[in-house]
Amino acid sequence: MTTETTPPVAEPEFKVRVEVDGSSRPVVVLYWGSSLLWLTIATLAGLISSIKLHSPEFLGGIEWLTFGRVRAVHWDTAIYGFGGLAASGTLLWLQARLCQVRMPYQTLLLVGGVVFNIGLVLGTVGILMGYSTGVETLEFPLWAMPLLVVPYVFIVIANFTMYFSKTTKHTYVSQWYLMAVTVWFPILVLSAEACTNLGAVDGVAQAIANWWYGHNVVGLFATPTAIAAAYYLIPKVIGKPIHSYHLSLLGFWSNAIFYNWAGTHHLTGGPLPAWTITLGVVGSLMMFIPVITIGINHHMTMLGSFHLLRTSPTLRFAVMGSMIYTLSSFQGSLEALRSHQEVTHFTHYTIGHVHFGMYGFFAPLMFAMMYYGMPRLMDQEWSSARLIRIHFWCTLVGMSIYVIAMCYAGIRQGLMMNDPSIPFLNIVRFTVPYLAMRTVGGLILLTGTIAFLINFVRIITPHKYTWATPTLLDTDRDWKKLLAQEKDEKRGVQ
């Protein structure tokens, strides 16, 4: 049973697909490929910061590698470098496929991709050199920002062009989410920069703008793209339609309305009018509605097809992502409660939650997108099933170690902090072993990333030996083996 091949399609439709994929190839491969390089950089920066928190002497005394700078680089390269590029590649390719049109403005998008990467390099070097703006998630110096914003405008234009020239009659649920991302993200970035770094608002209102942005960049950019991917991939791979149209409609609009208001829970207990925090808590709790509806839609579609998880790399990552979407969102909603925040707010628990969402939900769905898309875009199969297996297990195990260590340590840390009889340094010493455990988790994640990178480099380099059928997880397919076999055969002939 081949799960990765799409069901037989009519000849004209197949032609369209070849046309769409062929025109998307350079752009999408550039975006996805560079996103993986940024993921590697982000993971390395995360690892360095993680080690520094249990062994402060590690790379100590070097100013540009001090914790506060590497930590900022870690998050910004993760969200803009990996997240931004992986999501943009996904957005463009999904929209082209769902509209059944050629990728428009290829040169513009390619130039945009290169400029975006240059902007990321400048921003990263800027932070390391001490030019951070000091506003969390918007640390990139202002002079690097135009290089990130302008290319995104190209993406928005391409997205709308495709949408308005679509040859299909229907609009699929993924397309609502993609449309939403393109409307939200530019408004989000520009108004947040205006309110914080450009000083349009003052004092603590700036803090609200900061966390309105910090929460929404995940909720209105990363999340909708990943949900769009899940809505596309799960039915595609298992060959069944999505469970309920009406639920997807409810899920979309409730997500759009409530996520927007959730950000202020990041300031619970802070020097703000209580009503602003209450709004954030209410918004967060209302998120149960979209999360449950989207969850039902994804999981009910999967019902009866779980055996395919054994073979399909795409499905395995997509299902991991959509399951953790449900779990991490439940965790997030409960976390927003004031009683919960009293303990966990200023602790490693929050860091655990962020990684649960980003590396348990968003990243696996982007990986799933690439595992599904790359063979179609390159007309070449993944060359090693073993590397995919390594990638999957490293992602799952590394992320789990990370999240469990941080969440547990965070709760204990918070309870101890609320007991003034415990000296602060005792709390710091208590967390150190868990911080070391996190480094182990991070190392495992890095291993997985490198495995994926190797496979990715192989699929974009043309090679002689390839397969006619998809690379499934239960095969022992390995490119090296094939090469060796060929050699042996040649020797036999001689």
Binding site: G130, A207, P271, L272, L425
Partner: protein
Amino acid sequence: MSRTFLLAFGIFLTIASSITGLVIIPNWQFKELKPVVKLDGTRYPEVYFGDQARGRAIYINQGCIYCHTQQVRMKGYGADIRRGWGTRRSVPRDYLVDKPHQLGTMRTGPDLASIGARQPSVDWHALHLYNPQITSPGSVMPRFEYLFREIRGGEMVSADAIKIPPGRQPGDATHIVPTDRGRALIAYLKRLDQSYPLPEANQ
């Protein structure tokens, strides 16, 4: 076409309403906040100038915010006041001159809203920044030794040099002197003080 427009417009409304409700309205509400004039004629909060302003920039570019908050939660919510991090809760007026804000969301290290009042000694700050293990054994804070100049044995000791406690001296360094940047950062930290009793903090 009209349905697409409706979709895009609805999406736009969701974000426009949240930024209005969460950012623009509170900002408008804070507009009437002014610094208070204290009995001695000085203002609270006073704008940052000179070393304090330069020190704040160093606080920002070293990324102190990733481990330290500058906000004290109210009595009965957490143990901020009982831990001695402040004498009262923080209020919006405390942050009138903070651009960009440095409220922070993480307490790998303790809160710094009133660190200037809690640790008034320049020597303590200098030693702590130079090597946190001297003042706070077991701390995971990085050393900021590049903000200091070490004075070796036999060298002339300047007036503002700070003695490194015996047993903690690396090599033959006996004293440290903060560089201009180190001096600025210490000036900023010493200025952090929210102990002035603003009336709204008791409401």
